[in-house]
């Protein structure tokens, strides 16, 4: 249980025990509560007063499968709010096995100076000059790191976009094969990392000093129950290893809730060409991998390897949100173009979602035609070459909207929406509007309830409460490092209880439903809301863009019909 603090101004490393006030916290809970305590809310997110906090979950580094989600937090340069973005890969488990509760990156290196933070298998940390890697894209950079430090190395890094401090820049996370195809994409945290002068965190995977599990016997027993539930559940056990999250393309289009052509329609022409089923068929035909283990200790294998006509690797982990943003929003019904765009975003280090939405806004403004894959690829390439347009695009949808003086920008607090139109799935509209993170589907997604027949997606009544409860639950699970795909199984009563027992056994405490997800989720959300209030955000910021209230979405021809008063009651605690 220790913090490693890297001061980028002084080039010093400090190691300290976790202070009592942060005890029992991990992942998003730790990043958000620390930021609320320690970062001046009105500071420049790209200035020296911001902090970048990298925290494995409470269960990362334990033997429980599917616990390698890393939480990264800071004040966001994209939204101006508090931000936590989490990613898969291998680094969370690697840090957990070293007993590291968080890496805290503070201060700023002199302009132009670049370093990596290296952590060896004994947990010893050092800052190493990285001038030679300046401007390097992420795939090549990770390859170099693996050459230097060996294959059992986890890398979190930025690409050119982060070095340019562009506000849609991501932090890329290496997968089991050492490819940086996982991303903490949302909120521009890559720009925060770039502003500190840090190119990467490079961690040895051979750590053997994980924090002790307080009750190993109870842990093992409950972990067995939970693991069995994950394996047997139709979603993580069967659907995810077959199609991954790309399985969502069919239901969203079948429901008329797939925002496409910059959210002008709810069903995309030719969506079957970019569905999860079409992707799996194409990958199989070409000899790629439709299922793949992307993250440490994963038993679900929802990832994939998309290959070209010659069978050569194009990109990894091509997922629903990217297919939607780069295909649906842009009207590009071509998986090869979408896969190329996914690779480019990972390699340059920008969020596929914000970038896809930004490309769509530019197309909607008449800059290029919807459906023009070659034009989209050229636009995204410009981010890396650093042209004026590339820098605007790399700053996300709001910047593009301002550039073209175009008001149809589907975003909240500056962050592009996800692939669920708020007019055809009102519950996700509530989550987009009220999440402390800006528009964010992972904060509380109602799609599962809609597909289970428990919620009519067009229904307004009761959705505020549903969004609230989901946001509380997700805020709590985000503290644990547990992958959402596996968490789905823990929504059922018995595995849910097993999850509480696992967590309780790790921490040495008894947890009831009022403690987890209840109290833990509320505590996290309160801290995040408090930070945003102090930063100057009010209820008026918890709104969707005007066009969602006024412009009916075909085919249902409905608008977002939740009143401001109802939205303001979302967080009634």
């Amino acid at each position: 249980m220790k913090f490693i603090k890297a001061n980028m101004s002084k080039k010093t490393i400090g190691v300290e025990d976790v202070p009592q006030e942060y005890a029992g916290l991990g992942g998003r809970g730790l990043t958000s509560i620390m930021i609320n305590e320690e970062v001046p809310p009105k500071c420049d997110p790209l200035g020296p007063d911001n902090k970048l906090i990298i925290a494995p979950g409470l269960l990362s580094g334990t033997p429980l499968p599917n616990t390698s989600r890393i939480s990264i937090g800071a004040k966001s340069p994209l939204t101006g709010t508090i931000k936590e973005s989490n990613a898969g890969g291998t680094v969370s488990a690697a840090l957990g096995r070293l007993g590291i509760t968080a890496l805290v990156i503070e201060g700023q290196a002199p302009e132009g100076e670049l370093s990596t933070l290296r952590i060896d298998k004994t947990g010893n940390a050092s800052l190493i000059p990285a001038q030679d890697y300046k401007g390097m894209r992420t795939y090549k950079f990770v390859e170099k790191m693996l050459e230097v430090y060996g294959k059992k190395t986890s890398v979190l890094c930025i690409g050119p976009a982060g070095e340019y401090r562009l506000t849609a820049a991501s932090i890329q996370s290496s997968d089991m094969d050492g490819r940086p195809c996982r991303a903490a994409g949302r909120g521009g945290l890559g720009a925060v990392m770039g502003a500190t002068g840090l190119k990467a965190v490079v961690v040895d995977q051979g750590g053997k000093s994980a924090d002790a599990i307080v009750d190993p016997k109870a842990f093992k027993e409950a972990a067995k129950t939970l693991t069995k539930a994950v394996k047997e559940h139709p979603e993580p056990g069967h659907l995810m290893p077959t199609l991954g999250t790309a399985a969502l393309v069919a239901p969203l289009n079948s429901m008329g809730a797939f925002p496409c052509y910059n959210a002008r329609k709810g069903v995309m022409d030719g969506w079957e060409q970019i569905s999860g089923e079409a992707m799996a068929e194409l990958i199989q035909k070409r000899g790629g991998k439709t299922t793949h283990m992307g993250c440490a200790q994963c038993i679900i294998h929802c990832s994939n390897e998309f290959v070209d006509k010659e069978g050569k690797y194009v990109t990894g982990a091509l997922e629903y949100e990217t297919i939607w943003a780069m295909g649906g929003m842009t009207g590009i019904a071509d998986l090869d173009a979408i896969a190329r765009l996914d690779f480019l975003c990972d390699d340059i280090g920008v969020d596929t979602m914000s970038t896809g939405v930004a490309v769509a806004v530019a197309m909607d403004a008449g800059y290029k035609e919807f459906g023009d894959g070659a034009a989209a690829i050229e636009m995204v390439e410009e981010i890396a070459t650093g042209t004026e347009f590339g820098k605007i695009l790399g700053n996300g949808p709001a910047a593009i909207g301002r550039h073209f003086n175009h008001s149809r920008v589907p975003m909240v607090k500056g962050q592009g929406i996800a692939g669920y139109d708020p007019r055809a799935m009102l519950g996700n509209g509530v989550t987009f509007a009220t999440s402390p993170m800006g528009a964010d589907h992972t904060a509380g997604n109602v799609i599962g309830l809609c597909l289970q027949g428990k919620l009519d997606p067009l229904q307004a009544e009761g959705v505020v409460e549903i969004s609230r409860n989901l946001q509380i639950a997700i805020a709590a699970f985000d503290c644990t490092g547990h992958c959402f795909m596996a968490t789905v199984a823990a929504f059922d009563p018995e595995p849910g209880e097993a999850f509480r027992k696992v967590l309780g056994a790790k921490l040495g405490t008894h947890l009831g439903p009022e403690d987890f997800p209840g109290a833990m989720g509320v505590r996290v959300l309160k801290a995040e809301r408090e930070f945003n209030r102090k930063a100057g955000f009010t209820n008026q910021d918890d709104r969707l863009p005007k066009f969602f209230y006024e412009e009916p979405l075909p085919p249902h021809n409905t608008v977002f019909a939740i009143s401001d008063e109802e939205l303001d009651s979302t967080f009634d605690f």
């Binding site: 139709p234 979603e235 399985a247 629903y320 589907h441 599962g448 289970q452 249902h556």
Partner: protein, 79 residues
């Protein structure tokens, strides 16, 4: 009546040679419900199957209508 059902996710695996472009043709009685259709396709509720028609998610007792394509897919909680 004959209807066309399109099967997504893991649901088409039981039908060798299934092609997404065509879907599967099923003969059902007039007035058949979603439950009847799933029973005919031998898709158990435990698989979390969802049926949609004309942009709406149907409930078990809803009636399948003539001439309207039906989409059947797995429940999924997010991406």
């Amino acid at each position: 009546m004959r209807i066309t059902a399109k099967l997504y996710g893991t649901l088409s695996h039981r039908f060798p040679g299934y092609q997404h472009a065509r879907g599967i043709e099923v003969e059902i009685p007039d007035g058949a419900t979603v439950k009847d259709l799933l029973a005919l396709l031998e898709i158990s509720e435990s698989k979390g199957a969802v049926v949609a028609m004309e942009g709406r998610i149907l409930k078990g007792d809803d009636t399948i209508r003539r001439g309207v394509p039906v989409h059947v897919f797995n429940a999924i909680h997010g991406g």
